[in-house]
């Protein structure tokens, strides 16, 4: 264990398609987090911004962009990019600064105004960019990869389209109770089945949308939390940011091919379970200790994978766990009580931070209608393009 940092404040801007700029969303989320912490902006010693996916300024210098919007005040400033793991990397950077004594109060902000439709790479002729290549050569969109994995589950484990739809129904019901979610209406299995196929076997309602949105956290040392009068602050106990190990033999975004494994060599450790394992080791707890999990449900089928990769059930048993109701509100281990990406959509640099906001509210028992009773420990997990693991464990 590396030591804990305290969540002093959490704030969000509601997800949606609002048609405004990411700076506005991020600044509102930051102000909400500062208010939640009871701190003035001038008391913040460091700002860490999770970069947006933009070519050039100012998305790629998010830390300074938010520092300027909030009013230059001389704080240490950092910007990080790790695609979907950007938020977790920003939290990890803040944590390192706090634990090393470089800063005592750190503001972490992630925000995006997402383009419409499929995510696409930046323009130009860039054959040295694997992300550009998969679009150029194959037209392989993100949902195409989600669909490859979904079909694999169907073939290996007997998962059905109805199982996938059940994930959407569960998360939409949860999201309906979350004022920050973009979609706040229940969805039925019939509606999922009636939505158009995007990449067989996945339909439109199996796949998360792109959204505008923002989330922010104020982090500090546990001693600072006490000084601010927080007797039992939510504490971040682990931030896993591991890379895969060579050879990576699972076909993954944005690659056109896997690494080759030498003949006769053992099957290497798969990447996604290693993300959770690193988080558990660092936190000194295991899946049996969790009260809830926020996982990256880019597709309904992918949520089932995460159950297994988090060790909530054995490989292949994700759909069974879902059918038993274990991951629903009131179940043994609620997953995505926030409503997940199914209800929020993706605002890439914000989402991993938003997951930790949800953990914070749940652990403080401030989650209202979607509260997991008596929540004591929670985990978030996602994965960033090009091999960034991302998992955060928070406890109270």
């Amino acid at each position: 264990m590396t030591g804990e940092v305290a969540v002093l404040g959490a704030g969000m801007h509601p997800w949606g398609k609002w048609g405004r700029g990411f700076v506005e969303y991020g600044t509102k989320a930051a102000r909400a987090a500062l208010a939640d912490a009871g701190l003035e902006w001038s008391a913040i010693q460091s700002v860490v911004g999770a970069n947006t996916v933009r070519c050039g300024y100012p998305g790629q210098v998010a830390g300074a962009t938010f520092a300027k919007a909030l009013g230059w005040q001389g704080a240490r400033v950092t910007s990080v990019y790790a695609a979907c793991a950007s938020g977790a990397r920003a939290i990890d950077t803040a944590r390192a600064q706090i634990l090393s004594g470089l800063a005592d109060t750190v503001l972490v902000v992630g925000s995006d105004a997402a383009p419409k439709g499929f995510f696409a790479p930046a323009g130009g002729e860039r054959p040295d960019d694997p992300d550009w290549l998969r679009f150029r050569v194959l037209g392989a969109t993100n949902p195409a990869y989600f669909a490859l994995w979904a079909r694999r589950r169907m073939a290996l484990y007997g998962d059905t389209a109805e199982d996938f739809a059940r994930v959407k129904v569960k998360n939409a019901a949860a999201g309906a109770a979350n004022p920050y979610a973009r979609y706040r209406s229940p969805v039925t299995a019939e509606e999922v089945a009636a939505s158009p196929v995007v990449a067989d076997p996945l339909r439109l309602l199996d796949i998360c949308a792109t959204s505008d949105g923002a989330a922010a956290l104020v982090l500090g040392s546990v001693a600072t939390a006490r000084r601010l009068g927080m007797a039992r602050p939510v504490r971040i106990r682990a931030v896993s940011s591991v890379s895969p190990t060579h050879p990576r033999t699972a076909l993954d975004l944005p690659d056109i091919a896997t690494d080759s494994a030498p003949p006769g060599s053992p099957v290497p450790d798969p990447f996604r379970p290693s993300i959770a394992r690193a988080a558990y080791e660092e936190a000194g707890l295991g899946p049996e200790d969790l009260s809830l999990a926020e996982v990256y449900d880019l597709s309904t089928a992918l949520e089932l994978e995460w159950y297994e990769d988090l060790g909530l059930c054995a490989p292949g048993e994700g759909a069974k766990l879902l059918r038993e109701g274990a991951t629903a509100p009131g179940g043994r281990i609620p997953v995505n009580p926030s409503g997940g990406l199914a209800s929020f959509g993706e605002a890439v640099p914000a989402q991993a931070i938003a997951q930790v906001c949800e953990l914070t509210w749940q652990l403080r028992e401030q989650a209202g209608e979607r509260q997991v009773p008596g929540a004591r420990a929670g985990i978030t997990v996602n994965q960033g393009l090009f091999g960034h693991g991302s998992s955060v464990v928070a406890v109270r």
Binding site: A83, C84, F118, F119, A120, P121, G123, P127, W132, L133, F135, R136, V137, L138, G139, A140, T141, N142, A144, Y145, F146, L148, W149, R151, R152, R153, A155, V197, V198, A199, T245, H246, P247, T249, A250, L251, D252, L253, D255, A257, T258, D259, S260, P262, P263, V267, P270, F271, R272, Y296, L298, L302, E305, P315, E346, V348, N382, Q383, G384, L385
Partner: protein, 167 residues
């Protein structure tokens, strides 16, 4: 004059004429194989190899998974927005010898109904699109007739699936 035929990416598959193969590279020091090709450095941890020789990949493999694209992908995918979108299949194929999964489009006419996980497929030359007066060439996967009678049971390559990430 017919349009010029050019590969969509240089050096990923053999030129026209002769047996069609995907081209990778192989580290002279440790034997690791790469596709898409690595030409400067070997990526195996602890291997300092910098000499990589071009190698043809196995012509046949087994379907690891497959899907299709019902919506037109965004640029830089070469596609004429004036034309009606016609879905194509995407097939991920595990090459047994290399223990590597390679994604590709299915050959024209190959539909989801023609595919199953574990089925044997082969790599064939194909056309990706017409673009700017040029014909972009590519590779396609196409099911091949099983040499043994089909028992209905197919080997599942790779064991447990390990999807990944996100964006």
């Amino acid at each position: 004059m017919p349009p010029t035929r050019v590969p969509v990416v240089d050096g990923w598959f053999t030129a026209e004429g002769g047996e069609f193969r995907l081209l990778g590279t192989c580290c002279r020091d440790c034997g690791a194989v790469y596709f898409p090709r690595e030409d400067a450095f070997c990526r195996v941890p602890g291997c300092s190899g910098t000499e990589l020789a071009e190698v043809p990949l196995s012509r046949r493999g087994r379907v690891w998974s497959y899907t299709d694209g019902r919506y037109r992908p965004p640029a830089p995918y070469p596609s004429d927005p004036e034309l009606t979108w016609r879905p194509y299949t995407l097939i991920a194929v595990e090459l047994t010898a290399e223990r590597m999964v390679v994604l590709g489009q299915g050959a024209p006419g190959v539909t989801l109904a023609d595919l199953a996980i574990g089925m044997e497929v082969e790599v064939v030359p194909g056309v990706l699109a017409e673009e700017g007066g040029r014909t972009l060439t590519t590779w396609h996967w196409r099911p091949v007739a099983e040499e043994e009678p089909d028992t209905g049971e197919r080997p599942v390559p790779g064991g447990r699936p390990v999807p990944g990430e996100a964006s």
